[in-house]
Symmetry: C2
Subunit: 400 residues, 2 copies
């Protein structure tokens, strides 16, 4: 008994049958005595279809008009879902982003939620309606439609859960929860019962794209308890919250990320401020640098090595070649980042050495290392990534 | 130099190429120094596609949700048209029905416009924007989306023209104007330069579906000068206004309508109130009766004969059979109504006889006759309708 916010992505409502499946999940929750607010994305490929239509007419269209166009996607999915819920005999109403009170700033295509006017939402809940809300969209101070950008529907769901102080925000996806490793690749991968916001954020950054980071950050900020679960098999999933019981696990997950370019600047003159100049330059072009390593050569020069995403790699090399004549710049995109994440490792000094031992035993060479309080990452050869994840997973995750 | 409202239907914006064609017409008008407001329908089959999606999920969906769904159609077409106009280098903004200030009542699916809040429209025109407005849709007092029903976009265009006191409201269609007869059937059919509101209303009722009647009525009420013209060949079309020069034409058009059922109630007892009872009964089932004829038989009985649309015919027979045991009810759906329309005929007493003569000369038998101030209709055999229209057209329209 409580207030539950449920979010379903585009693939969950892709066709009539799936819309009916979602209606079933929603009404089952309502039947258990809960108030239910459902946040939905646009159906399946609708968003891509609309983008294509626009590109055919004007590939550089004003973002305001793109948002006006895109917002039609969720308008279709919410009304269809409301009709499906109605057909099962339950009271329901669909609300567009602006009808549900989503006030945003005016950055079209990537708007931020400023606040949620709750009067309409509260009124519909008071009438015992199941409320179906269009995710991803809002309205700015000029009464123009805006969209929240990538992962926007997750953010919409968490924002509503925060505003209404919901008891839980359930994010339905095509996986059954958060796993200790990619279950398609690591057969012993386990579904986690619980995970902290910080661990979830690290896992998302490291390539386990289950939840959008912005929504996890918002959930953390407002203390919204999240649950990641499957719309095809709605058994209990993974709860994301502030503190968790440790489940005797030192780490929560092993991930790999192959979208990595390793850039080496070799033989730099060792003058003050050279590192600052390099990374300042990269930041002007919005190149996010991940791991940085600096080492000194014998002849009074130094080497600076860093990683960024593959699509930024070429641009980074180009920028740097114009800065220095007297050094060698090498780019390697055949690398992967393998990481372990877990709030428990802070108080366990042997965690890093245990990871390195597992890799050594598998004869995998480590090129770079980076550590934070709840994460250890290594850069290795891309071809060895799968083998590395399996080895590290086996070393850390108890196999029962 | 003035303010022009232009309306384009769904087929005019069916694909990228047609959207660009509309953008060209709009910007040509703007380049001539006019302020331009464009009203657009949903693209081609979008509306039908959305109806189908809904029917698959819930064939009896709440009308509020149907309107929420349908309104997405124009949202797509206005943003695409705005992008097309932008690509030609002109300032433009798209507005949804509610953004353009369309306040309606709450009859979902067939809402009536109550008023248009003009502040946003006026502000955008003051910024010299071309304003693209979603036709067919508005918002009610609960902030819920509504649609105006059949022909709604024409009504939207006329309502905006009335509110803004536009100099002209151009309705772009797939024909080049209003013709004296269907040009596909009558080779001498002529495009009219001008026609009165009343004549246009009669022509629409009689099956020449160029303009929706509701929009013509509204145009008449607010004195909005309409022009019907082609989006594929935008040469001057037909102006619809209060008074016209007569152009030496007695009549403006000859039309035929085959959606007619002729119902005969034969041998009724001649008791008072019998006609009243019949038509009261029919009106309770929303059966609109067109022409009525009553005649007396020799034996103290009477016959009542009337016409209605074909789909109402069967229902009418069923209703009447339960009312009377002692008379014979015959339904004939193989009939057509051929009519002439023209404000000039009022002052020309010979008009009717000229029409009947033309039919007699072609050996066409008249079954019923109905006349009004600006219209004469006859019911004839359906198979002779085309021949009748040609004969009457030839008799009245000067062939230059």
């Amino acid at each position: 008994m409580g207030l539950i916010v449920q979010k379903f992505g585009g693939s969950s409502v892709a066709d009539a049958q799936r819309v009916m499946n979602v209606a079933k999940i929603v009404t089952d929750t309502y039947k258990q005595g809960n108030d239910v607010v459902v946040v939905v994305s646009a159906q399946g490929d609708t968003t891509d279809d609309l983008i294509e239509k626009a590109a055919e007419i004007n590939p550089h269209a004003a973002k305001r008009e793109m948002d006006q166009l895109m917002a039609a996607g969720e308008q279709i999915s919410i009304s269809l879902l409301a009709m499906a819920i109605e057909s099962l005999g339950f009271p329901v109403i669909s609300l567009l982003g602006w009808q549900a009170g989503f006030n945003t700033n005016s950055i079209y295509g990537a708007a931020r939620i400023k606040n949620i006017r709750q009067n309409r939402l509260q009124a519909e809940l008071a009438r015992h309606n199941i409320v179906v809300v269009a995710g991803f969209q809002g309205i700015n101070r000029y009464d123009d439609l805006t969209t929240l950008g990538r992962g926007g529907s997750d953010t919409s769901a968490v924002a509503i859960a925060a505003a209404l102080r919901a008891d839980r925000c359930q994010i339905f996806t095509d996986v059954e929860g958060v796993y200790t490793a990619d279950p398609r690749k690591v057969k012993d991968a386990k579904k986690l019962k619980e995970i902290t916001y910080d661990e979830m954020l690290e896992l998302a950054t490291l390539g386990a794209q289950v939840l959008n980071n912005r929504s996890v950050e918002m959930a953390k900020k407002y203390g919204v308890e999240l649950e990641v679960l499957s719309s095809l098999n709605p058994i209990p999933g993974t709860i994301v919250k502030e503190y968790t019981k440790m489940e005797k696990m030192l780490i929560r997950g092993v991930t790999q990320d192959k979208d990595v370019a390793l850039i080496s600047i070799l033989g730099l003159k060792d003058t003050p401020g050279v590192a600052f100049r390099i990374f300042e330059k990269l930041s002007t072009k919005n190149i996010n640098v991940d791991i940085i390593l600096q080492s000194f050569g014998r002849d009074g020069t130094k080497d600076i090595i860093f990683t960024c995403t593959k699509d930024n790699g070429a641009l980074a090399v180009e920028l740097l070649e114009n800065m220095f004549d007297d050094c060698k710049i090498v780019s390697n995109t055949n690398v992967a980042k393998v990481s372990i994440v877990g709030a428990g490792m802070e108080s366990h000094p042997g965690t890093a050495s245990k990871m390195f031992e597992a890799l050594y035993d598998s004869n995998i060479n480590i090129q770079m290392i980076s550590t934070s309080e709840i994460k250890i990452s290594v850069i290795i050869d891309a071809d060895e990534a799968d083998r590395a994840v399996s080895a590290v997973h086996k070393a850390f995750i108890p196999n029962d």
